[in-house]
Symmetry: D2
């Protein structure tokens, strides 16, 4: 069986699983106080060029977004995000359940526009009724975005500057960060993200781990963050599970290698789609490709192959997501070519 439905269809990258097996019977303290977690932290700090960073491991993206945003926001603040932001559409209201109202901005290929961001923040803070409103306390961006697109170094720098100008914290959702870092023409790397953001996470679940996201506070974590994690049911007894995996992901360049495999297979997938005259809804440089299919062709395809429903741009067509990952082999691509 093959699949392009998403990038979390298989277990862990073999090197990650191997490390779990090797360390399995070494007893360690719980709750993230184990030696593997400490080692993973050191490796991530080094990769980020950020020796002071405080790092915590959570199990999934929605949990991470909700817990971190809630910890970054004061009770009178909300978070600005693109209207396509994952926190706004696909998290079942989890951020709001922890008190974070989302202030939506228009999206441009999944990204927010710095000028629109500045205008919104300025308008909110200048409003004479601001005491009845939600203050803009943080900005959420995803990189890659939900459309697989990437911010440039220049855009991120501008957004970060606006955040500092208006006293907002910048938070980056890196659920698929490996594929973003490994994209061909990107000028964004981990040290840049660490320099510009107040918090971000390095995605594990979609980038080679069984589960786990590494939350990085480049300068300082919110006070008593571990209690906050516990209070929201996100503290794992066997913290080692994430620690061991991220230790492996940040050894010998594995995280980037995983990203490269996803990006390369996505490039080849694009070629196959073009060969079969399937237009892309959007051209993206990472591991997610969005194609437009007539509804009948979509229905026929999904009987042979799991793909991701995305939207209906008009009543006759369906936008479908093809996702590649570290586990997308040549066989996957050949089989897709055959089916199409």
């Amino acid at each position: 069986m093959i699949t392009f439905e998403n990038d979390y269809s298989c277990g862990a990258h073999p090197a990650v699983l191997k490390r779990l097996c090797e360390t399995n019977l070494i007893p360690q303290p719980g709750y993230g106080f184990d030696c593997f977690t400490e080692s993973a932290r050191a490796r991530i700090r080094a990769a980020c060029g950020c020796p002071e960073a405080e790092i915590y491991f959570l199990t999934g993206g929605t949990q991470t977004n909700a817990v971190v945003l809630a910890s970054l926001l004061k009770p009178w603040e909300g978070v600005i995000a693109a209207q396509t932001g994952h926190i706004h559409v696909h998290e079942a209201g989890a951020p709001e359940a922890l008190g974070a109202k989302i202030l939506a901005l228009p999206e441009h290929a999944g990204k927010i526009d710095p000028d629109e961001l500045r205008a919104l923040a300025a308008a909110l803070l200048a409003d004479e009724n601001v005491e009845h409103m939600v203050y803009p306390g943080a900005v959420y961006i995803s990189h890659p975005t939900e459309w697989g697109t990437l911010y440039t170094r220049e855009e991120l720098t501008e957004i970060s500057g606006i955040c500092r100008e208006f006293g907002m914290r910048l938070y980056l959702d890196g659920a698929r960060l490996a594929y973003g870092l490994a994209a061909r023409d990107t000028d964004v790397d981990l040290p840049l993200i660490a320099a510009l953001c107040d918090a971000f996470y390095i995605g594990g679940t979609k980038c080679g781990a069984l589960c786990g996201e590494a939350v990085v506070f480049p300068r300082q974590a919110p006070a008593h963050f571990i209690n906050f994690i516990k209070k929201h049911g996100a503290l794992m007894a066997k913290g080692r599970l994430c620690g061991v995996q991220f230790d492996a992901l940040f050894t010998d360049g594995l995280y980037l290698a995983i990203g490269r495999r996803g990006v390369e297979t996505a490039e080849r997938l694009k070629t196959i789609l073009a060969k079969h005259a399937i237009p892309c809804f959007m051209d993206t440089p990472t591991n997610q490709q969005f194609a437009i299919l007539e509804n009948a062709r979509y229905q026929a395809l999904r009987e042979k192959l799991p793909v991701g429903f995305w939207s209906n741009p008009d009543p006759e067509h369906t936008v479908v997501r093809f996702a590649t990952a570290w586990y997308t082999t040549d066989e996957y691509l050949e089989e897709l070519d055959r089916i199409l």
Copy 2:
């Protein structure tokens, strides 16, 4: 290195890890719709004698308690628990953060007393000020309790009857259920628990899994429970991670075998403590043993061996928890004997 600090110091039982390795590259849908999760559900339904049970997998105990209790309670209800209940003392306020006020009952070796339960429920519902109060909507019990003790079939049956009489749901926290089911003289098994409770969970993290708890609703889950899980950040993209592990735990009697190992090593540990004239704070039939040490002896011991601080019954003594588990080998016990 050896440890008796807790029962989650190592990774997964080798048979569980083996199954993760074998299934690693088989692609499957996300969010618990995979074939391994379905198989695990079928095995657990069979073990509970409960073909209609709805089963979900979450990652940890605090998360499970908070999410399940919140889903069981109406907005005007709270949950009755022993004052030593894990939800009341060691979950950083997680149940309250989801709206569940805890109505505390005295504890008797970690257990609630059926007569005190009936009296409290009756008094609360008869109070003329009940509209200003929190209604008793559910009863939380842990089995084994936080003191490692067990309810009897008769006690559970009586508590369940009181719950039905007063319209309360009965929820059982089975974080260490394997060790409870494998205790020597217990008359409580999974079919009994399924027959008497409205919800319970079968602990994985402390009983052989890397992570994961199986939530069982023997008759019917709350409506849209999967959305509720997602809203509280507890839905794993790779649902297979828990599915595969519980599939292994419920194959060939592994879950009970794990429990037996923990209980047998605890029995031997008790003998060693007695040999060294260390009194037990409480005699318990499962994998946790609580010993009383003079403070100086406690300090000396913990420099050689991780053990769990529990409480200070008086200024001169410390109660210490020794926990065994599936990974407690003969070597562990011999080393402890040597150290003492």
Copy 3:
């Protein structure tokens, strides 16, 4: 001193205050179980043509919206509202703080469009990822809207039909309902609202009371709604305070008379603005009028007279709200004419 800043600048309508004085020393039970509250309920049921209605009194609009919406929604649901809806922009995140995510629709002179409502509800429920999203559980409309506009009988009927078709509850925010009911050409009255909505409130604070909003559930209130009120800090010990006031407001047609006074003075205000060549941003039939002023004229005006800042449609202009109310006397209008 005169003011057009808002419609809550004075105390209570004299007839309301008189009734408070007359009843002041008559002892009554607390929490809304007094005879005045019961009488007010009976009068409102009669005015709504709804003998079965359940009625509760809360103290303010934001509180009412948050508590009622939270009681109407299931944990996996959110509420659809115009992007200008009061709950979305001017309640400091109160609905979200009780768990109600807002799903924003475009606004048309403050109103939602039935076709856009149907399209959104259908799209949300048809989405294959709906388990990761917030279900549309209720629709929020304000009448008059935040722009002072009104729905027609036909529009309300269509919106109500869509709600029933998709299993959504319809909730109407009547903070300024008196002015809406008293508008010249409206075909919407209380019995129609009661027939079409699942819940609505009759505004007191902005329509003649010191404080208080009457929440009407025309068919059935959510279970244990009084506990829900208490749990959210909204249950008044002296429930009589709202009871007495609404009893007066619904005696001898006072509520409508108050509305008429506000509407008539607004009409005369419109004439004065036109005389002074001040264009309206929007023509509205109720007690709020929105005028466009050059920024310098706005600054000059607000030094002589409190008016409400609304927005900056462009860098040179300010939209200003002039609100009339039951206390807007001829003297107010003459003074405004003089100042302009």
Copy 4:
């Protein structure tokens, strides 16, 4: 009709109502920015000897307790209270709904014991598992307590010292503060309370107002407290309603006069109960008296007169609360004497 059911059975003290009538048609800004509220603040600051105090007005006790405690606590903290504390038993879980877990202490005639407080705080902070627990962030006391008793200057001073020693904020619930300040032998006054507490409220609803509680932060209010109030539905559009009332209550010693009336009538009530051989459950110096009646006598009495059910100390007896207030006239007492 007469009543001893509670101290909120009538409207407002006549002098308070008179002031509402006098100011009724003077237009003022909303949300507490009116001149009456400013005047009330100045009078309360003077009465507290606390020129820097920040003061806010909310509508009721449960709302006040929940909002203020939530604003005082960090997300990882809870509040210590007597197990009889109003927040723990009679607020329908409102504090917990805003995230404040209650850490219960034994009660001694409604009061907490300083030694037990110190021991609890010390034990919680010394626990090696504190990261899994709720930190003690605040201490809640009521004065008068729910049993009508009072703390002494010495006790309050000691409790305040313990709070500062352990970094906890001290919060005093003064729902019935007028009756406490006016008690015969008390050595506690407003300046002392302001000096010792981090926040407290001066009760209006039960001490002469239609509604309203004055929240006093003697040194500094939490940041953006007005937004916090709004977010929790507690900000009144007509803030003047509370402002005018507290302005009257703190003019010419009215607040203390109201307290004295309640205390004096309670003393006479005690004499009447003694005359009829009805024992007191507890001797209290304020306006609440708790009597023990055989159940049959309680049932007979309540058919003639509203009194407050309190508890059943044993199956044959009922504890009944008799409350006096500013409106308890001689006629009330004579009628009670006749009925008994």
